[in-house]
């Protein structure tokens, strides 16, 4: 197994090459606005650091979000196109699961990332012997609207940094690391799980159909 893993759902544009045992090489840069410019050079840098040719890759894993749409799509289309070009499988991983993997927390905790518009993407996890299990489906909403007993848990991701009053027990990591995307993908593949590459948008596009606009006018 020679897996290229990448994620663009948080502020990190992160790439890693993983051989099933360990990360052979990686490249991560923090820039929430320049995915288009930085991801492709990041891939070539990570491959070079690992001493791996693109033709040697056997698998690709990509974080499918949730995350801000524009950056998220850059990672997804890159993974899908590269996989098609090389004729290798592409596996989708929930990006919050990768953050949970990086947290290394035992017991219950919360992953909350920046969803912009004063909201967070979040899900609750339980760590046992270094393996986090997701207890709830990822959702988007205001940090203050998360149930109080959940908000009191330890938090990883930028959510706690942005909303410390609602999420007081924040810690690292703040962003996804591609090495963790690879780990989560490999564990799921070993368990025989399907890993479809479906973006987790969790929000509808911001637009009203002509029919909805008409209905709104009639209601007013």
């Amino acid at each position: 197994m020679l897996m290229l893993a990448l994620d663009t759902s948080t502020s990190a544009i992160t790439v890693a090459v993983h051989d099933g045992e360990t990360v052979l090489g990686d490249h991560t840069v923090l820039d929430a606005r320049r995915h288009t410019e930085l991801l492709a050079p990041g891939i070539t840098t990570a491959l070079a650091a690992a001493g791996v040719a693109v033709t040697d890759l056997t698998d690709i894993a990509v974080g499918v979000g949730p995350g801000p749409f524009t950056g998220l799509r850059v990672g997804l289309v890159t993974a899908l196109t590269l996989g098609h070009t090389r004729g290798i499988a592409v596996h989708g991983v929930c990006s919050l699961d990768a953050l949970a993997q990086g947290a290394g927390i035992e017991g219950d905790f919360l992953v909350a990332t920046d969803a912009r518009r004063k909201e967070v993407y979040w899900a609750r996890y339980r760590g046992e012997s270094g393996v986090p299990t997701r207890l709830s489906e990822p959702v988007v909403g205001r940090a203050a609207d998360i149930p109080a007993e959940v908000r009191a848990l330890p938090v990883v991701g930028r959510g706690a940094l942005l909303y410390p009053e609602a999420l007081p027990d924040g810690g690292e990591p703040l962003d996804v690391y591609a090495g963790d995307v690879a780990l989560v993908a490999q564990r799921a593949l070993e368990a025989g799980e399907a890993l479809p590459v479906e973006p987790m948008y969790l929000r509808r596009p911001d637009a009203l159909t002509t029919a909805e606009r008409q209905a709104a006018v009639e209601r007013a």
Binding site: T36, R73, P205
Partner: protein, 362 residues
């Protein structure tokens, strides 16, 4: 002939996911996936809807293009992609996909200008472009008059719309007339049964405007005039003669476009006019341009309607010209630039200074 570059072009600047493959000056395939039906529900293009559709359609459209052309990805010599202007989020899907192809295949990637591609597409239709060529590009996103000495390197904007694009005016007038989105084809069809008898204004054609905005266009006043005319009819309790309004509006648009384009050819001493962009599919514009060019002794070049609207073949055609002329590839770190000026025909890689810095940074 086999040394002609085989180039795949990707276009995602608006609502069409286009993938075309060109060998030199020969079109092999032009594959398109459109999300226009989804946008019709919203009465216009919704950027986020377009971007989501691009992501879903990207790889299947690449696959379809290769299968139809009988080309294996590994045969390709280069990749070209629209890097701007256009909808930022939509452009990013195409640019990222093109770079992944470049990495996976080990071939150069060219980020190219959308408007220049509209000009270059005519090479696969009518052969090499005369240098210089005058280009009139009219669509929902742009209305420009360009002097093109070299489509790979030297494009000079002479004029453009100062308010709405021509295609935008078609969409808005269609809405006023109760015709569906996109407005262009529906107005074209309605106008066939109409009489040109309403005298709508020709923007920026009066004496003073011809001094200050000689090659510029304006369609916002025309759109307002049409909607006032229709409202007055409705207020008087009369039926709106949709076909006549459509025909008269279309006549006003095509009159100004062709008049200024031919004037530019004559004043700049250019013997060839090329028309491109979605509005170039309009039957009245094509007929009027032909008539007036014939009279003025100007050679008119208009690609078939399918190559006038946004497509991947036009991007591939410009990419093939870039490779044939030995232009330097764009590298892997170029951005999607929603407001890319037409004078930037392609993304040049960072200069020697920054390349030097990068070498010594680590």
């Amino acid at each position: 002939m086999t040394d002609e570059p085989l180039v795949l072009g990707i276009e995602t600047s608006c609502d069409e996911t286009g993938v075309g493959i060109v060998r030199g000056e020969t079109l092999l395939v032009d594959a398109i996936a459109s999300s226009v039906d989804e946008h019709a529900r919203f009465g216009g293009v919704v950027p986020e809807v377009a971007s989501r559709a691009h992501l879903e359609a990207m790889v299947p459209t690449i696959e379809r293009a290769c299968a139809t052309a009988g080309v294996a990805l590994t045969d390709l010599d280069g990749i070209a992609v629209t890097s701007g202007p256009g909808l930022a989020g939509a452009l990013m899907v195409g640019v990222a996909s093109a770079k992944a192809l470049g990495i996976g295949l080990g071939v150069p990637v060219y980020g190219v200008n959308h408007l220049a591609s509209h000009v270059a597409v005519d090479i696969v239709e009518h052969g090499p472009l005369p240098e210089p060529t005058m280009a009139l590009l009219v669509s929902g996103g742009h209305s420009s008059l360009l002097l093109v000495p070299d489509v790979t390197d030297d494009i000079r904007p002479l004029g453009s719309t100062i308010d709405d694009a021509a295609g935008e005016a078609f969409d808005k007038v269609a809405r006023v007339l109760g015709l569906p989105f996109p407005g262009g084809p529906h107005i074209d069809r309605a106008a066939r049964d109409g009489a040109i008898e309403i005298d709508f204004p020709r923007g920026l054609t009066s004496g003073r405007d011809m001094e200050r905005h000689r090659y510029d266009f304006s369609f916002s006043g025309l759109k307002t005039a049409v909607s006032r005319w229709v409202q007055a009819r409705q207020a008087a309790g009369e039926d709106v003669p949709v076909a006549d309004v459509a025909a008269s509006f279309q006549e006003a648009v095509t009159d100004v476009l062709t008049r200024k384009a031919i004037l530019a050819c004559q004043e700049q001493g250019v013997g060839h006019l090329q028309i491109g962009g979605g509005v170039a599919a309009n039957t009245r514009l094509r007929a009027m341009a032909q008539e007036r060019c014939d009279r003025a002794g100007i050679q008119l070049r208009v690609p078939r309607p399918g190559l006038c609207t946004d497509n991947g073949a036009m991007v591939a055609s410009l990419g093939a010209q870039m490779m044939a002329k030995g232009r330097v590839p764009s590298g892997l770190d170029f951005p999607a630039d929603s407001s890319m000026p037409v004078t930037d025909v392609h993304n040049e890689p960072a200069g020697p200074a920054s390349a030097h810095d990068a070498l010594h940074a680590g």
